[in-house]
Amino acid sequence: MSSAANDKREQLEEEFRRRMHDAEATPSADLWARIDHTLTMQENSVYKSRMVLYRQLAAACFVLFVLAGALFMYQFSKDTNQGSLATTGQLPTAAAPETTKAAPEALAAAATKIPAAQVPGEAMPQAAAAGSTRKNNATAPVLASVPSVSAAGVGARTANASQPADKAYTYMAGLPENAAQSGSITAGIARSLTDSKLRLSAGEAGRHRTAFASLQPFYQTARQSIAATPFLQGSHHTSRAPLGAQQLLRNPVAGLVAANVIQEPGTTSSTEGAAYKQQQELALVLNGKKESESSSDSRWTVGMAYAPSYFEQNIGMPDPMAGTASMFSLAAGAPAISTFDAQQKEKKQEEYADNTDPGFSFSFDARLGFKLAKRLKLLTGVGYAQNTARTKSNYIIRPLLGEPQRSERVVLEPATAFLPTFSNGFSPDSMSIASTDVYNVQYRYRHLTLPVGLQYEGRLSKDWYWYAGSGVAANFLIQSTIMASNDEVSDVNFNSGDDSPFRKVQLSGNVSMGVGKRLSNAVSVSVGPEFRGYFNTLLAEPDNALAPQGKPYTIGLNMALNYDLGSSR
């Protein structure tokens, strides 16, 4: 505050100033009690707002905990199933010799394209002998290899199986028709081969994987194999041995069932029927359980989404000639400006409105999805969003603070037109607005987001689908920054723990729709527009701001990559 040198102060002014400036008056005794009460009320409201924040954080932590637990349980059950299957494949060691009796014949017949009928049943011992000796027969290399494959199918029990197994794979990869004819090779065999400590080189292993991958479409479950097998339909007497090999090759579990049936060639038909029933029931139970697990597993999806967007921050500017603001206000109150500076200020605010452009805004989500119904999916996860807006300016505001006692003016830190609207503190007496070179001002808001939503998918074609989704999200402000490229203007930065004029937690809603493409059974991609509207203003206390404050929103393009956990197996 300062006195104007040109204003003549006469005796009256000096007398009043001398008597009144440092005068004292005693307030009523209850005034402090009223102030104390108001302070207590404010503290309670702050406490309540913090409690709301903590509750939201606790809810978010709970959701994450449940999701993590579900994921862990899923992974745990998956590992357990795999482990039990592998263990089961190694159990029936004693049955292996009998089982291998049939396998050489079947595979040899398939390899040489000799009908099974041309290989008499009585030749089985010879074939078995060939399988066991692996020397005499002209097809010895091939035949010798077969038992090892079969043995591997049930657990690779032979100690010297490594070399024949290698040959067998090569052989079978080259004979898809025969493989189809004699039954497909399952991934279980491959696993069993791995489990059997076969020492394959990396190159060989890769080749075998490729070979098996080409045979995968021929895979059938044990139940399907048993149901489709003539042997199990009553005509087993003529083709028992080949079918036994098929069963072994198709599925370790089914193979076990079939192998146990094959172990009893001399039993009566009634005994075989009873045994068949028992084995079929076992197969049904095992495969049924596996299928049900598979279907439940397929409910879960994981994915990630990236959404570049347009961001409108919707922060209002105060009226150029607004009066003195409340000291409690976020906006600077009643800065004194000259007529020239008033014009400059109006220009500055017009410039702000005209030149405010969206910056590069984006969000990134890690998603976990659960299929509530065939086409309806519940999505949740955790995300990160960075919203940016920017302006170009060629004005610098220098707030001035006068002191009447000393007739001095203190120049506060220069600011852009935007910054004083957030000055939560002392109001300047006046301000100077100066033109300068054009510089950029960037407003950046970083949020941690916890979304939850629903997505409905409809089929367009075999691989293409459409989707429409909607959801809500809790957005926790991590950091807000206002940066100016001009060295004279200070940057403003608020971290999550700072006392910021911006809202700490914002709720938002989003809607999106688009199209997707299934790249494989497990992997799909989708893309589509997304609108995200925030339910609150950016400023925590918009009622205390001089200008009306709007609610921010984003319009962007959501690109997602989804992985179906169940379809991969």
């Binding site: 300062s2 004292e24 603070l401």
Partner: protein
């Protein structure tokens, strides 16, 4: 043992305590400035009741914004400015600062040999409070707070010329009040 205490250091501790929300420190700050600030509020408010309302609001703002006090001016000055701003806002919200154009015909009184020594503070305060709100604001801001007319015009959204004319009217009214009181006093003395 401290031989002396640094007053600045005490003020810093007081400020820090208030920022931390310590109620005893807030009470100390209130006790330190309450009387002076009450006098300030009384000059701007038409009644004691409204002056206390202004003071209550202003102290709440002081506590809420103390963390933004940059110590580039005396704390008392900073608190006083908040009182003045709160008073202006309070009166503006009640539409008491609308421009009054009714000219009061007052005689221009020479102030060459002017003295207020015979008046108590309450009497002077009563004179100021008797002014119309706009005149009271301009008179307070110019004569007592020390603002110039340009600054007052910007604070009250009026032109510098309007501020000058309103001040001269306020001044004339006060002079008229003082003159009438002196004349009444003389008549009372003569009659007695």
């Amino acid at each position: 043992m401290k031989l002396f205490t640094n007053p600045r250091s005490d003020e810093d501790k007081l400020i820090e305590g208030c920022i931390a929300g310590k109620r005893d420190m807030q009470r100390r700050l209130y006790d330190l400035y309450a009387k002076k600030m009450m006098a300030v509020c009384l000059r701007y408010a038409p009644t004691t009741f409204e002056a206390e309302d202004i003071m209550q609001d202003a102290f709440i703002k002081v506590y809420a914004n103390l963390q933004n006090f940059k110590k580039d001016c005396p704390l008392e000055f900073w608190v006083r400015k908040i009182m003045v701003n709160t008073a202006l806002k309070h009166l503006r919200s009640k539409q008491l600062l609308t421009v009054s154009h009714e000219a009061e015909e007052v005689a221009s009184v020479s102030s060459d040999s002017f003295s207020l020594s015979g008046y108590s503070m309450e009497e002077l305060l009563g004179m100021i409070q008797s002014l119309a709100p706009r005149y009271r604001m301009v008179f307070n801001l110019y004569a007592i707070e020390g603002y110039n007319h340009k600054e007052i015009g910007e604070m009250l959204d009026i032109s510098e010329g309007t501020s000058k004319s309103q001040y001269s009217r306020a001044r004339a009214i006060l002079q008229g009040i003082i003159t009438r009181q002196e004349e009444n006093y003389k008549k009372h003395v003569i009659s007695s």
